[in-house]
């Protein structure tokens, strides 16, 4: 007589999916949060944005062929929305709690923070994440031809601000 295996009835693939998702989560979490924090200037807001994106991804897990690019787009979209909606909130937290306050004053950081979102995102993705222009375009869901000018304008603005 052979052994009896107990197999979950409701979601036979559930455990496997969760394991895959967990591995993906562990692999992506730090990088996504840091990238989002560089864009948002706030660790807590970045954690919220990234985890909202993870929740959305988890609901579609298994249906998405390339979860990495999907998560990138999702996080960046949330950063863009969060930047529009919660500017006041972030400023208040920044003033009150020092949540995102850097320990030392950094003029480059200040200049970067003032750039328009697309330029700021292009800079972070290029110089922090090391993405190519095509990868940046895919992440920002824009034409590849837009990325180069964004980076050039951002660098020109920063150079002007620094001189």
């Amino acid at each position: 007589m052979g052994t009896v295996r107990i197999v979950p009835v409701d979601h036979p693939q559930g455990d496997s999916n969760d394991r895959d998702f967990a591995a993906f989560y562990r692999r992506e979490l730090d990088g996504q949060v840091r990238r989002a924090a560089l864009l948002l200037g706030s660790e807590s807001v970045a954690n919220d944005a990234v985890h909202d994106a993870f929740v959305a991804l988890y609901r579609k897990w298994g249906d998405i062929a390339e979860p990495g690019p999907y998560l990138n787009r999702s996080v960046l979209n949330r950063c863009r929305d969060s930047g529009r909606r919660d500017a006041r909130k972030r400023n208040a937290i920044h003033r009150t709690c020092g949540d995102s306050a850097p320990p030392d004053h950094d003029v480059l950081w200040d200049v970067l923070s003032k750039l328009p979102f697309n330029q700021r995102a292009a800079i972070v993705l290029r110089f922090y994440a090391g993405m190519t222009e095509s990868e940046i375009a895919a992440s920002l869901d824009c034409a590849q031809g837009s990325v180069g000018p964004w980076i050039s304008r951002a660098l020109a603005t920063m150079r002007k601000e620094l001189t």
């Binding site: 949060v33 560089l38 807590s44 954690n47 985890h51 909606r85 970067l112 972070v124 920063m158 620094l162």
Partner: protein, 224 residues
């Protein structure tokens, strides 16, 4: 990096130096940010919930309490936008309709007009058969004496149920009468003849006094 240092560096360096500074600054800055592991919340939470962090200090608590208010306020903009678009559409339609009526043209132009009755007395109602619609149009009354035509009255249509129809205007008293148009929501094809109209041969014309006649029909006015 302090302000003076950054400025000094940027002045005396080229693009690559700025890019190097950016790369160094971003990586240094990123190291200061840490992630919070909420995997168990994601896996265990029911669909529809999020994993947002709880308010962690007084400022966040105060701001979190105002979040719903902010959410409601966020609806105001889109709703105002939709209302503005609807208003623009309505005003545009009214403008188009008004422009048409300015020229005395209804939406259903006719080849001829027929009056009922064709013989009437002062103060009587006349109806322009086949006309009507939601768009107001004007008419006027000319006295015809042989080849001579004298424009005497501007008439304004009204519904037969109107308690106080707009009175006709004596053009001899107001020769510079301009266009008068309006948008109304009921069929209008009834005119009331002036009570002081003297007997004779007239013609009723459809159209505005200023723009001229489009179509006319004979009308005989008899003594009451």
């Amino acid at each position: 990096m302090d302000l003076a240092g950054a400025r000094h560096d940027a002045k005396g360096t080229d693009v690559n130096d700025l890019e190097d500074q950016l790369t160094e600054m971003l990586h240094g800055r990123a190291e200061q940010f840490t992630s919070t592991d909420r995997l168990s919340e994601i896996l265990e939470s029911p669909i529809g919930t999020n994993t947002r962090s709880a308010p962690h200090d007084s400022a966040d608590l105060a701001l979190a309490s105002g979040r719903e208010t902010l959410n409601r306020h966020r609806l105001v903009g889109p709703l105002l936008g939709v209302a503005a678009c609807l208003a623009i559409v309505v005003v545009g339609l009214a403008y188009i309709v008004g422009r048409d009526t300015d020229t005395g043209v209804s939406q259903t132009p006719l080849d001829t007009i027929t009056l009922d009755p064709t013989v009437a007395g002062p103060g009587d109602w006349i109806t322009v058969l086949g006309e009507g619609g939601k768009y107001r149009w004007e008419g006027y009354l000319d006295r015809v004496d042989g080849d001579e035509v004298e424009r005497l009255w501007a008439l304004y249509p009204t519904s037969s149920t109107a308690l106080e129809p707009e009175p006709p205007v004596n053009l001899l008293e107001q020769p510079d009468l301009g266009l008068r148009t309006a948008f109304v929501a009921e069929p209008l094809n009834n005119f009331r003849l002036p009570g002081s109209l003297t007997p004779g041969t007239y013609r009723f014309c459809r159209g505005s006094v200023a723009a001229g006649a489009e179509l006319c029909a004979p009308l005989v006015v008899q003594s009451p």
